[in-house]
């Protein structure tokens, strides 16, 4: 059911050599290719639109869900809705990821809308990798959207990575946090050639003691363009921190737009943004260790995006 190209993509986006342990749903070329549920994690196909509901029972701990998507059919366009209902007092890991291999002329596109409803005092770690390859003229387009709702005391850590190969992407994340909830986002993004990436974060801190820490590290090579927007809205005594740190190379263009809104006297919000080329002294240092300039550059970038 899954061919070699799709297997390679699965390895790239989800580190999977074989079927994963625990719950999973593998989507290949617009179809569900494999699925497994556990006593605590159910996966149900939506009836009103494409996608699945992932239902995690209250109290589920140390379990994981893999939901990778691979596309190897040129010209395939899909929009998928995946909703995660995480009960109270859970501690789970969700591994998503999308790989597009396009060696044809038509654009291939995956729009994934992930909604997370995380119950009280639950902890979720969400890992998402996006990857594209194939030498066709058709573009590889991914528009991931994440909607996060964290109940009181819930915690979510999102680690999202897109290292090359995706021609066009709009990465949109909106989050709403109740009292004591905590959201950590770590984004790593690399664009090259004529690629374009737009990242848009909106985090609303509604409850007392809510906190958000959003850090995006990006590298823009070639003639690629990146546009980064982060909005943090503090409606209660809360803390919010966003950071956009970019390395710019060649003829690339990077824009960072921070927007902080405090609607409460005790909302403490910080934004940091830095855009700059690789420091010459960093290259020199690594060259004194015996690396060529090219190798030094690669080390600096891979460390920066780790």
């Amino acid at each position: 059911m899954i061919d070699q190209i799709q297997k390679d993509m699965l390895k790239a986006v989800a580190d999977l050599d074989s079927l994963p342990v625990g719950a999973y749903n593998i989507r290949a070329d617009g179809q569900s290719a494999a699925r497994n549920t556990t006593a605590n994690i159910d996966i149900v196909t939506k009836t009103d639109k494409p996608g699945i509901d992932i239902i995690i029972r209250p109290g589920t701990k140390k379990e994981s869900v893999h939901i990778p998507v691979v596309i190897s059919q040129s010209g395939l366009k899909e929009c998928v809705y995946n909703d995660f209902f995480v009960g109270e007092d859970c501690d789970v890991v969700i591994i998503a990821g999308c790989g597009i291999h396009n060696c044809g002329a038509g654009d291939s596109q995956h729009d994934g809308i992930h909604s997370f409803f995380v119950g009280k005092n639950s902890k979720v770690r969400y890992i998402e990798k996006h990857y594209g390859d194939g030498d066709g003229a058709g573009k590889r387009v991914m528009n991931p959207e994440s909607v996060v709702e964290l109940a009181e005391g819930a915690e979510m850590q999102m680690e999202t990575t897109q290292i090359g190969g995706v021609d066009d992407t709009l990465r949109k994340t909106t989050a709403r946090l109740a009292a004591g909830a905590k959201l950590i986002i770590r984004e790593a993004l690399l664009t090259e050639g004529d690629q374009r990436a737009d990242t848009d974060f909106t985090v609303t801190l509604d409850g007392e003691g809510a906190s958000a820490d959003v850090v995006s590290r990006t590298v823009a090579k070639g003639r690629s363009t990146q546009h980064y927007t982060s909005r943090v809205i503090g409606n209660a005594p809360c803390t919010g921190h966003t950071e956009c740190d970019s390395i710019i190379m060649d003829q690339a263009k990077v824009t960072a737009v921070p927007e902080l809104t405090a609607n409460d006297l005790d909302a403490s919000l910080i934004h940091e943004a830095a855009i700059g080329k690789i420091a010459g002294e960093q290259l020199v240092k690594l060259m004194t260790l015996g690396l060529t300039e090219q190798e030094a550059e690669e080390q600096i970038i891979s460390g920066f995006l780790r």
Binding site: R217, D245, A279, E281, Q282, V284, K285, L286, M287, T288, L289, G290, L291, T292, E293, Q299, I300, G303, F304, L305, R306
Partner: protein
């Protein structure tokens, strides 16, 4: 092993930083001293290939390395510890030590080098070389990288700068041990009497020229009596 012939270095506007430096370094431990702004660091950078001399030639073990770049000189066995260590966002101590040690030595041995410079390897290997490390910690990691490389020529540009006095005592021991246990040569730029005191040969550079050079016994007593200020101005 290292020979400098008529090395001159000028920057734009014909400002001369170094003038006709002629040196032959065959001793295992050579210290370069002299007043600030005298051209010591420029000379060290010229040896490492970071700066290209506007005049003269550099020879390493009989090979003319004047036009070799930094990488090529590093691969021929020249290491260089920066006076101001460079910070990297994302790269960890273990990454840099691994790169320094090369595939043959590995991280485990590099961790031993961290211990050599007085840092508990366990606490540091996974730290990023970013702003969270203090100047003194960065400096010790910088020295550890050179130890990890273990090349035939190790250049240290003011290793004592930014290191507290307690660490300085240990630093002296690092160089002593390096001298005793390795086969490589050490070239240290320093203002510190205690470092000069363990050198085989001392070169005094001022106003871009070699003002004096000789064995420790020939140079040090005169330095201590006449230019005490030069030796102590970094101690405060």
């Amino acid at each position: 092993m290292l020979k400098l012939e008529h090395i001159g270095y000028e920057v734009e506007g014909n400002k001369e930083i170094l003038h006709d430096i002629n040196l032959e370094l065959n001793d295992r431990f050579v210290a370069i001293t002299g007043p600030n702004g005298g051209g010591k660091s420029t000379l060290a950078k010229i040896i490492a290939g970071i700066l290209t001399p506007t005049e003269g030639r550099i020879w390493l073990d009989g090979e003319d390395i004047t036009h070799l770049n930094i990488t090529e000189r590093a691969r021929r066995g020249i290491s260089y510890a920066f006076q101001q260590p460079v910070r990297f966002k994302g790269l960890r101590v273990r990454d840099l030590l691994g790169l320094a040690a090369g595939k043959t030595t590995g991280v485990t041995a590099a961790c031993d080098m961290l211990s050599e410079v007085g840092l508990c390897a366990r606490d540091y290997v996974d730290r990023e070389l970013n702003d969270s490390l203090s100047g003194g910690e960065m400096k010790r990691i910088e020295i550890a990288m050179v130890l990890a490389r273990g090349t035939k020529l190790s250049i240290f540009d003011e290793p004592e700068a930014g290191i507290d006095l307690w660490s300085f005592q240990n630093l002296i021991r690092v160089f002593e041990k390096m001298y005793e246990q390795t086969k490589g040569s050490i070239l240290i730029i320093s203002h510190q009497e205690r470092i000069l005191n363990i050198a085989d040969r001392i070169i005094m550079i001022a106003d871009g020229q070699v003002e004096r050079m000789g064995t420790r016994d020939e140079i040090l007593p005169a330095l201590l009596s006449s230019t005490c200020k030069v030796l102590t101005d970094k101690m405060e």
